[in-house]
């Protein structure tokens, strides 16, 4: 490990609450965790931060035993655990407890029933909930986890449900708590309550490891911060580090991407700022699932050949923006224009027919039908093109699929394979290739074009996107990978809380500046 020197770990003589060494996990060509080392002291709140796909959640799952590591060592309170035989059962026995991002509660059962589920206390063969309820009340009193043991979980708020999850693992004797994005589901006022609970737990000697990408929260709660990027630990920072410093460590351009990055100015300036906008949004407001506004007043204009990058920490409205532009989410107010025509109320099919392409953020959810074969997936979204009097043109579809597979270098090149059998990178190549080969393509909304894609395939996808822009297609590229945006975009808009907080020329967008806008530090 050649990262910065460890700070604040392993001080004092006593054994660390949790220590990891050389933890490695590979998914195909992707190294999710690359010799990760981590040390968490007793009584410490330790935050792991990083972009999407940095390997934070994988690491947590390895510690809790839900994902098997390929290599590495795990010690819990001085005791070695065999990672090869590690499972949630051995993790719980060693005093680890995990709160998943999606709660594992039975909504129709009471709080006390959920807490004891699987470990029901019995007295003379009968279920004894009263004792457990008293223990829950006592735990709640001690750590500020107030919740009525006799209420049904379905009647609780999300914040209360999270408290039930915490009580559940504490009641089972957890000494080290693993929390995956604990604040993602909470309202701002609930975040404060949660942090008070975590402080109280730390004061009682318990350790907390939490994964987050909300930097202002991390600086508010963490005693130590480990920053991950591309599966590696790139920085270990002490409490008191500013969120801007953490942000630049998180997104910092690494050597590899600098090598392949073309200077933005080197791109032929086909983007004509005088031409009419191909794709435009005016004061777009899109509701968020579960209330509030996902997109809160976004406007932009994209001319032929222009590439606008959208940066931002996940969950700041990028997903809603992409879906609304494609007609997959209803718009509350504002307008979407395609070639000057108002398509705000037009169904997706009409937008596609007018020359809009889309690379969805989640290819398995929206980009592909996993059970369909490659030929059928090559057809998906383009079926009107290949239909004559209601009948599918089999011959043309087969030729199109073969060409697409060859041009996009999809492997294995067999049109009869189900898309689900391909690696993520090859699935993505198929989706990007399908969208870019649309006849009459005018604008492409492209979300996370290279998520989970290996380096070589990512380079290919970048090349094809740039070719498309050079040929006059307007591109909107939403990505959490800043190096990618800088490589492709003319301008980079930073999305924060549903708005474009800033729009910077790509050449002038330093990691530091972007990081500050992304975290609202400059707002």
């Amino acid at each position: 490990m050649t990262g910065p020197a460890a700070i604040g770990a392993g001080e004092g003589g006593e054994a660390a609450a949790l220590s990891l060494e050389g933890v490695t996990k590979r998914y195909g060509a992707l190294l999710a965790n690359d010799h990760v080392a981590l040390e968490v002291a007793a009584g410490q709140v330790h935050a792991i931060v990083g972009e999407n796909g940095a390997g934070k959640s994988t690491l947590l799952q390895i510690v809790y035993g839900t994902v098997a590591a390929d290599a590495g060592r795990l010690r819990v309170r001085g005791r070695d655990l065999d990672l090869a035989r590690h499972s949630p059962a051995t993790a719980i026995a060693a005093g680890l407890g995990m709160v998943h991002q999606h709660f594992m509660l039975v909504p129709t059962l009471r709080v006390v029933e959920n807490v004891v589920l699987g470990r029901e206390p019995r007295r003379r063969g009968r279920l004894d909930l009263d004792a457990a309820a008293a223990e829950i009340a006592a735990l709640g009193e001690r750590h500020g986890l107030r919740v009525d043991p006799w209420r049904r979980v379905e009647q609780l708020t999300v914040g209360e449900q999270q408290r039930v999850e915490l009580i559940k693992i504490l009641w089972r004797g957890a000494q080290t708590l693993l929390l995956d994005e604990p604040t993602a589901v909470l309202a701002p006022t609930e975040v404060g309550d949660l942090f008070a609970v975590l402080r109280s737990l730390a004061a009682a000697g318990k350790s907390v490891v939490l994964v987050s990408h909300k930097l202002d929260e991390v600086t508010a709660i963490a005693d130590a911060v480990t920053v991950m990027r591309h599966g590696r630990v790139v920085a270990r920072l002490a409490a008191g580090t500013s969120s801007a410093e953490i942000a630049s460590a998180m997104v910092g351009t690494d050597a590899a991407s600098q090598l392949t990055a073309a200077a933005p100015g080197a791109r032929p300036a086909t983007a004509s700022r005088q031409a009419a906008a191909v794709l435009a949004a005016r004061d777009l407001v899109v509701p968020r699932d579960g209330g509030g506004r996902g997109v809160d007043g976004v406007s932009f204009e994209l001319r032929p050949g222009e590439v606008l990058g959208v940066a931002g920490v996940q969950g700041n409205g990028q997903s809603e923006l992409a879906l609304a532009l494609a007609g997959l989410l209803p718009v509350r107010s504002g307008r979407v224009l395609l070639d000057g025509i108002d398509v705000t109320a037009a169904p997706t099919g009409e937008r596609l027919a007018r020359g809009l392409g889309q690379v969805p953020e989640d290819r398995l959810l929206r980009g592909l039908v996993p059970a369909f074969d490659l030929a059928e997936n090559a057809l998906l979204g383009r079926q009107p093109e290949f239909t004559a009097r209601g009948l599918l043109a089999r011959g043309r579809i087969a030729r199109h699929a073969a060409e697409l597979i060859a041009a996009s270098d999809v492997r294995p090149p067999d049109p009869s394979l189900p898309a689900a059998s391909l690696s993520g990178g090859n699935q993505q190549k198929l989706v990007v290739g399908r969208e870019l080969s649309r006849p009459g393509l005018r604008a492409l909304v492209c979300a996370e074009p290279t998520r989970g894609v290996d380096v070589a395939a990512a380079a290919g996808i970048h090349r094809r996107l740039r070719q498309a822009a050079d040929s006059g297609v307007a591109l909107l590229i939403i990505s959490t990978d800043l190096a990618e945006l800088r490589r492709l975009a003319d301008r980079i808009a930073v999305m924060y809380r549903g708005r474009f907080a800033a729009v910077l020329e790509a050449a002038q967008a330093s990691d530091r500046a972007l990081g500050q806008w992304m975290t609202g530090a400059t707002a």
Partner: protein, 338 residues
């Protein structure tokens, strides 16, 4: 995939036969003898074969109805009601067709049945698309409504005095018998075969079929691919209801010559089992329906040796064994949990 499905069906059939053999033994008969009688009186003589084809005809239509909906990710439990309104509509049109050329009269009757069934299918489809009301509940409920409606309409307006059936259809609207030793089999069976081939072609070779299958596999990806989801749901349910509405081709047009209270009842629910056994593939529906048709008629033939309920036990075990191995059903269960 395909061979695995075929293997699991073969295993299910073997399990069912083995279990039934035990029952037959317990009843003091020889399983070999009983099976021989069963086959002899179904596929072994012309009349038996005709009856098998006759009993399979409604099952092919209802099996196709369930399969089409299922391929689009929808569960149509309403074939039972759809076939009633379809049969009634056929009989009413058929009774007013006197003097028309036969092809026209038959075509009108079939169209009437399909339209009535399609309307009853489209309604829960629309409720699902518009309000998110689950089609399983609504199609089940509509079965009761259709039953009561058909009976009330019949009694109030259409049934012949003192009976529970409509007047006879015109001769030109009757589907000719297949001429199998006076059995009830008619050209309706051939129409059912044509329907299976047509549905296969629709699902595999048309844009509509492609979009419906995409909807069934991934509604989110279908929406992103420009499929108008609400419309597709209504169309799928209408298609499904229309196929169920054609059941009367075998019973009303091909056999009775009128609509009668309770005609073809049970075929709608049996269609679910047929679709399950046929793995929701239109062309597999035909052999699956023939199997259930064989058991239905064969049960009567072996009644002298063992109670015909033993044959029903075979049917039930086939369904259970298929259901247990069906990935479709597992997928549906997973959807239900979401």
């Amino acid at each position: 995939m395909r061979t695995r499905a075929a293997t699991s069906i073969a295993i299910a059939l073997l399990i069912a036969m083995a279990a039934a053999s035990l029952l037959i033994l317990a009843y003091g008969q020889s399983p070999g003898h009983v099976y021989a009688v069963l086959l002899g009186h179904t596929w072994g003589d012309r009349y038996g074969l005709g009856q098998v084809l006759f009993k399979s005809t409604p099952l092919i239509f209802t099996g196709l109805a369930v399969a089409v909906a299922f391929q689009a990710g929808l569960f149509n439990i309403g074939a039972e009601g759809q076939l009633l309104v379809g049969g009634l509509a056929m009989a009413l049109v058929g009774a007013r067709c006197g003097g028309l050329p036969a092809p026209l009269a038959i075509g009108l009757c079939l169209a009437a049945g399909a339209l009535a069934g399609a309307a009853l299918g489209a309604l829960p489809g629309w409720l699902r698309a518009r309000f998110g009301a689950h089609e399983v509940i609504n199609t089940i409920m509509l079965n009761f409504i259709a039953q009561a409606l058909a009976l009330w309409l019949g009694r109030r307006f259409f049934f012949v005095e003192q009976t529970v059936h409509t007047p006879a259809i015109a001769d030109c609207a009757r589907l000719p018998a297949l001429g199998l030793a006076g059995s009830a089999a008619s050209v309706g069976f051939a129409l059912a075969l044509l329907a299976a081939i047509a549905v296969h072609g629709l699902m595999r070779h048309t844009r509509l079929g492609f979009e419906l299958r995409a909807l069934g596999q991934s509604a989110t990806a279908a929406a992103a691919g420009g499929v108008a989801i609400g419309r597709a749901i209504v169309v799928a349910m209408a298609l499904s209801g229309g196929l169920a509405g054609l059941v009367g081709a075998g019973t009303v047009l091909g056999y009775k010559g009128y609509y009668e209270e309770g005609i073809a009842s049970g075929s709608g629910f049996m269609g679910i089992a047929v679709a399950l056994l046929g793995r929701n593939r239109p062309l597999w529906i035909v052999p699956a329906a023939l199997l259930f048709g064989t058991l239905a008629h064969g049960g009567l033939a072996v009644n002298a040796l063992v109670p015909k309920e033993i044959v029903e036990v075979i049917q039930a075990i086939v369904i259970l064994a298929i259901a247990a191995s069906s990935s479709d059903l597992q997928r549906l269960a997973a959807q239900g949990q979401r």
